[in-house]
Symmetry: C2
Subunit: 152 residues, 2 copies
C-alpha cells in the first residue's frame, strides 16, 4: 500500500496512544473526523495495524525478572524445529521466541517474578522440552529502551 506522510504520522500517533479520539487525531493532522476515520479503517483492512492492546508495567504484576535465553537444538531436522516451536509457544513465561542465525538457534525472552521462579521454570518447563541441546541465560539488569512503536 502507498502511504503518504499523513498515514505515517497517524500510525506514529496510534502507536503511542491508541485511545486518541478521531477528533483529536483530526485536529493534529488538520483533517476532518471522517478523513481520519477512513484512513484508520484502511490501515486496519490492509493489515498494517494488526491490533490494539493494553501494555502493562511488568514490575507491578510480579514479572519484573527478565531473562534472555539463547537455545541450541541437538539437531536441525525440520521436525525437531517444529516440535520445539510448538512446545515453546505454550510456555506462558516465554513472551517472545525468535528463530535466529548464528551460534544459537533461538532467542527467548522470559518474564517471571524472580530468580527462584526462573529456576523453577528452567527445571520444570524449559529443559524438559524435546531436542534441546544447550541453553544460555542472560539476565536483564536494566531497561534502556523498550518500545513497540516503529518510527516511519
Amino acid at each position: 500500500m502507498i502511504m503518504d506522510s499523513t498515514d505515517k504520522k497517524l500510525l506514529e500517533l496510534l502507536q503511542k496512544d491508541a485511545k486518541m479520539t478521531t477528533k483529536a487525531l483530526a485536529l493534529t493532522l488538520n483533517l476532518s473526523v471522517t478523513a481520519v476515520y477512513e484512513r484508520i479503517k484502511k490501515l486496519e483492512r490492509e493489515g498494517i495495524i494488526t491490533k490494539y492492546v493494553a501494555l502493562l508495567n511488568r514490575n507491578t504484576i510480579q514479572k519484573g525478572f527478565v531473562v534472555f535465553c539463547h537455545i541450541k537444538l541437538i539437531q536441525h531436522a525440520k521436525e525437531y524445529l517444529t516440535t520445539f516451536e510448538r512446545e515453546v509457544g505454550k510456555l506462558t513465561e516465554v513472551l517472545e521466541c525468535f528463530h535466529v542465525s548464528g551460534d544459537y538457534d533461538y532467542i527467548l525472552k522470559i518474564c517471571v517474578k524472580d530468580m527462584e521462579a526462573y529456576r523453577e521454570f528452567m527445571v520444570t518447563k524449559l529443559t524438559t522440552l524435546q531436542h534441546i541441546g544447550s541453553t544460555h541465560s542472560t539476565f536483564m539488569i536494566g531497561e534502556v529502551k523498550n518500545s513497540t512503536a516503529f518510527v516511519l
Copy 2:
C-alpha cells in the same frame, strides 16, 4: 495493589484487545458496565496499565528485517554506560535495548528494511557511538512467538 481473579482476567482481555467495549467486558466478566469501568480506571491509576497502543505488522512497513545486536563497551565506568544509553535511545532503528549480565553489556533489537539498510545503520549510526568495544549481530530468520501480553 491486591488484584483478584476478575482484575487478572480483565487485564488479560485488555492485553489481547484494548478496543473491547466495557459492555463486552462486563458481559464476559459477569459484572455491570460501571464495575468494569471503575476497575479499569483503578488499574490505570495504579500504573498497572501503562498505555494503550496500536501494533503494526513490521512486514507491511518496510521493517521486516530484525537483528539482535549484542554489544560490549570498552569500559564500564558509569559515565560510559550513561552516554551510550542516552545515544542509543535516540536511534529510531533500535526498538529495544536492555542492559544485561554476561558476555555482553547490551542486547539491542533493531528493525530495518533489509540487509542493506542494516549495513547502512551499522556503519553510519551504531558503530559511530562512543565507548563501543564490540558488536555481534544475530539475524532473525523466523518469528515463533512475539507477544506483549503477560499471562496472569
